[in-house]
Symmetry: C2
Subunit: 330 residues, 2 copies
């Protein structure tokens, strides 16, 4: 049974939504430890008519990392906090995975310091899973951990994404692509062009470049890029999806008849929102560190936390860390 | 009266859609010259019950640049083509602007060689105008002309975008931002961080970084980034808008009731498509060359060409080239 340590105090809506998500995640069959202020957590458990059990425990830690603290200062201070303890539990083997919706720079920094890097990985990367049109999922990395990357970094991202897709997404032979500005190998910037050569000679099913327009096409299982491009890409996609839905909502208010149609079509909009909402994709695994660490969105609600715990469970069960270690080490 | 030279043979749907767009654009009150194979153009004019007139003429050129020719080879060959002649007309003063939906690498390369750069501009950039939520427009550059950029390039893009927004979009004091991965000035890659310092001391209303999620917010009038990031951004936005609309269409087919609702809601979808479709934003001006050149999407239909001609007319009327020259020259 997977043991997941959840930072109960991290996130804009902590601890309420975090606790609620953990209560829901009991159905996954893993053992969850809520790390944070005992009193506050118990209060939230009571609010959702739940209580501690063999599979839902509390580990009291008084201190909390604030959402707006400088990540560098948090890492330097070596202060005990709900976040640092959740990660220490993974390090010590008391947990198989950690989940936090807290200050994402601090989660990343502390995870790297506490867990250390997998041998052969120069830079851990944030992986993000998103839905594709025909069903199924694609993983993109790096989603923002490393803004300036070398071609070698991109190769390591590809190897890590490949193991993640095999282990967690269940793709036997993932198709790996580089996010670029044209399908031809001659298209790209200095880093992507060199990376293409490296990926081409690696033990990967490298399919070449993929353009931004084909992100949701399902043509690739793993898409690699530097953290600057990855972060812009994901935020643009999020912003565009919101934009389109706002225009739609506005158009459905343009006349009394349209308002009526809009009201009747509510289940459609709900389904659309569900297909495009971040909270279905609860968290982003930090790949390349020696342990499973899932970074959730600061805005995470209970559903997002539930999904993050599910991801943590999957990554631990499928030994993603060992797989990556084997792929880069040997 | 603005004189616009239109490459009648460039584009996936040339000459039919190009000619149709030009016929429609006569209403704009500019004088249009269709450059290309006379016979083919006349045939298309007849197909839309139009004919040459003082404001709609044909300039016969036999040769055509194929969509898949190597842009470098096209530029090197110095061969006469409908594209090269349209640009030469701008160079010689026989036209005030050129429009082409042809091979965009060739359009860019030939425009640079034929028109030359404005003094003080190291790298011309492709500007793209897109809609924002509350109405109005934002211009983003570079959309793909220069994949690897220096901070100085970004500063020049900002100055050019500023003049374009003032001249063509009619914004008195454009708010200029750098596309980056966080609002704080400490966030970004090596190039954007240095560019922020340069833009901060330039004669611009620089508002700092803007994240990808706020692309359509209207918080900035001009957004600058390197051509790699810009191209990925625009394609991701296009792909996401298509993705959301595909999910929506699928949901509206999920049951007989929903299909009925979907049928009644058709005007809503048409309005949505219109708000998000590229063909409302007919072309991307290549800023920084000594003349107005509009690069249209290869897939351009008549409506896109109409809008590209409208943009060419606006850019010429508002002296965007002189404005940029004055802004960078001092």
């Amino acid at each position: 049974m997977t043991r997941v340590a959840v930072d109960a105090m991290g996130g804009d809506r902590a601890p309420a939504e975090i606790v609620k998500g953990a209560v829901k995640a009991q159905s996954l069959g893993c053992a969850i430890t809520l790390v944070g202020q005992k009193g506050a957590i118990e209060e939230q458990l009571a609010a959702c008519n739940a209580s501690v059990s063999p599979n839902l425990s509390i580990f009291h830690v008084e201190n909390v990392v604030a959402m707006d603290e400088s990540p560098a200062a948090v890492v330097r201070s070596r202060r005990e906090s709900s976040l640092s303890v959740a990660l220490e539990m993974v390090k010590s083997g008391d947990a198989d995975a950690a989940v936090s919706a807290g200050n994402s720079g601090a989660v990343m920094g502390l995870a790297m310091r506490t867990l250390g890097r997998i041998k052969g990985i120069e830079r851990p990367a944030i992986a993000t899973v998103f839905p594709i049109l025909g069903g199924g999922e694609t993983v993109l990395l790096d989603a923002g951990a490393n803004v300036d990357c070398s071609p070698e970094n991109l190769l390591q991202f590809a190897l890590m994404g490949n193991e993640f897709a095999r282990g967690v997404l269940g793709v036997r032979q993932p198709r790996v692509a580089i996010l670029s500005i044209g399908e031809e190998s001659s298209k790209g910037n200095l880093v992507t062009k060199e990376a293409a050569t490296l990926l081409g000679s690696a033990d990967l099913k490298f399919i070449g470049n993929i353009e931004g327009g084909r992100l949701f096409s399902g043509d690739a299982d793993v898409i690699v890029c530097d953290g600057f491009v990855g972060n812009v890409t994901l935020k643009v996609a999020e912003g565009t999806a919101e934009f389109v839905q706002s225009v739609l909502a506005r158009e459905f208010r343009a006349s009394p008849l349209r308002m009526l149609l809009g009201r009747w079509s509510k289940p459609v909009f709900a389904a659309l929102k569900q297909r495009t909402d971040y909270d279905q994709y609860g968290g982003a695994p930090l790949l390349g560190v020696n342990g499973v660490a899932i970074i959730s969105h600061g805005r995470s609600n209970a559903n997002a936390i539930y999904n993050a715990i599910r991801e943590a469970d999957e990554a631990a069960k499928h030994n993603v860390v060992c797989r990556i270690s084997a792929a880069v080490g040997g």
